[in-house]
Amino acid sequence: MANLKLAKVKKAYGSVEVLHGIDLDIRAGEFVVFVGPSGCGKSTLLRVIAGLEDITGGTLEIGGRVVNSLTPKQRGIAMVFQSYALYPHMTVYDNMAFGLTLEKGKPKSEIDAKVREAARILQIEPYLDRLPKALSGGQRQRVAIGRAITRDPQVFLFDEPLSNLDAALRVQTRIEIARLHEKMAGTTMIYVTHDQVEAMTLADRIVVLNKGHVEQVGGPMELYNSPDNLFVAKFLGSPSMNILPARIESVGAATRVVPEGGSPVDLPIAAVGTVAGGAGHLGIRPEDLSLTDEANPPFRGTVVLTESLGEVTLVYVDIGRADEPFVAKLPGEVSIPRGSQIGLTARPQSMRLFDEAGQAVRPQVRRAA
């Protein structure tokens, strides 16, 4: 039962600052996922929280206690590493018991009970006497998780724990981690990944990081449906959102926007803060597009490529914007010959408007003063 509070947390290696003042509140028992492109500082932030890296600025509180200068152990955290990091010379049992044996005066029977309980939860009881080298990747990762469980951590940290597993095992282990979070309801979990599916399915809240800054924090659907800015809009969703430079034609109760390569659309947004004639960006998710036979569709172009993925078909359309194809994700198997002309449409409510700087333009919510 511990919440985390990061206030202006900074991390620099020598003169290179990697984290530029991270502010973040994580509630006790929450499952938070850090996502972001490679090199954005996810692992660094996790290691700062763990206590494996010194904090060079700001404060970190766990459970209401400033822990900047405490060891990982004192912080009450446990961590699962991407590479498992098991002790190669110890059996599975000893790997899981190691942390507990370091606590002076802990009775053997208590340690034994904890290890067996963790082994039972993770279904690794048959392997307790084996060395790590005699286990498969998935089993090793479960031992690593088990080692973390036995210590009853307040905060559970995962750094890309599934990235070394094959696709099927990844799904299975992901579900196990979700179940584990249910079982350990009071334990706060922080999980680093660059897999969107993991982020969307596991997280109570997702933290999107970019170049050492937090771009947005929110629930998975919140981020998906109303991204704060272009970065988040493009980062979540696969394939990513189509972004068209656009001109704002008129403002009012609705906003008329002319995207590059498309016809004008009326968005049901009272776009406060934008001016008629200003520039912006229009975002349309590929899955919101559908084929249309209208004479004058919002988007029209030549099909350059189709990819059938079984349950969906991706259609890449040249709508007259040099290198950037416009992608539509159509349900089922759609056969459209390459080179044919198609029209595409989307509901205006599903489109997102961003201002020139890339910040989302949202329907004005009147706040009490």
Partner: protein, 275 residues
Amino acid sequence: MPYVVKRTGFYALVVFIVLFSIFPFYYAILTSLKSGTALFQVNYLPVDFSLSNYEGVLSNGVFPTNILNSVIVAVVVVAISLFLAVTAAYALSRINFAGRGLLLLTILAVSMFPQIAVLAGLFEMVRWAGVYNTLFSLIFAYMIFTLPFTVWVLTTFMRDLPIEIEEAAIVDGASPFTIVMRVFLPLMWPALVTTGLLAFIAAWNEFLFALTFVSNNSTRTVPVAIALLSGASEQEIPWGTIMAASVIVTVPLIVLVLIFQRKIISGLTAGGVKG
């Protein structure tokens, strides 16, 4: 055809190398089993079998003591060197501090000085410390050549141990000392055994310091004791006894190597981290 030639050539070379390295020891065994005037005949196969030389050397008052001295010195040198080297290696390989590279080079540089160059200075130190004519002087002096290579080898080895394993131990709440003792040491068996054996052999064989820092017959180590074995008269060199003594002091080394070769298993870190 060339294949057969190559094969034959290869095995001929192997046989030559084996003979070349084994022969001196073989000849020593042969000689140690001879007695009387047979010593001065050249034979390449055993002709007689007499243990009198062994009896002679072992009943010669101080030689067993000399062996014990050698064992004490070599064991203590190995123990202290390995302990210091492991702890130093942890600092040198895992802790970032200013001047680390320079320190490593300095340690290596120490081993560049020929023994004879430091002999006089060391002798003064030994006298000053009051350990002249004791085994402590040898233990102390031998560190000069065992520590540089043990530190260097173990540092290199420890640097290659996966960092995540150490971090996992830190998260588990292990202190640096616990990490070294319970996590790193078991992973470093191959390096420890190799460097330990080399240090043991170096200490066991050392002659110059042993000759200089000890003057008392019963405090000497075996290399010096053997060199100073003398016969009934000044002119007579007791080859039989010398050879028997040489064989006796070689046996512990062979036994050690045979015991520990099984410990030198590669790939001990397999399975701990992905790879």
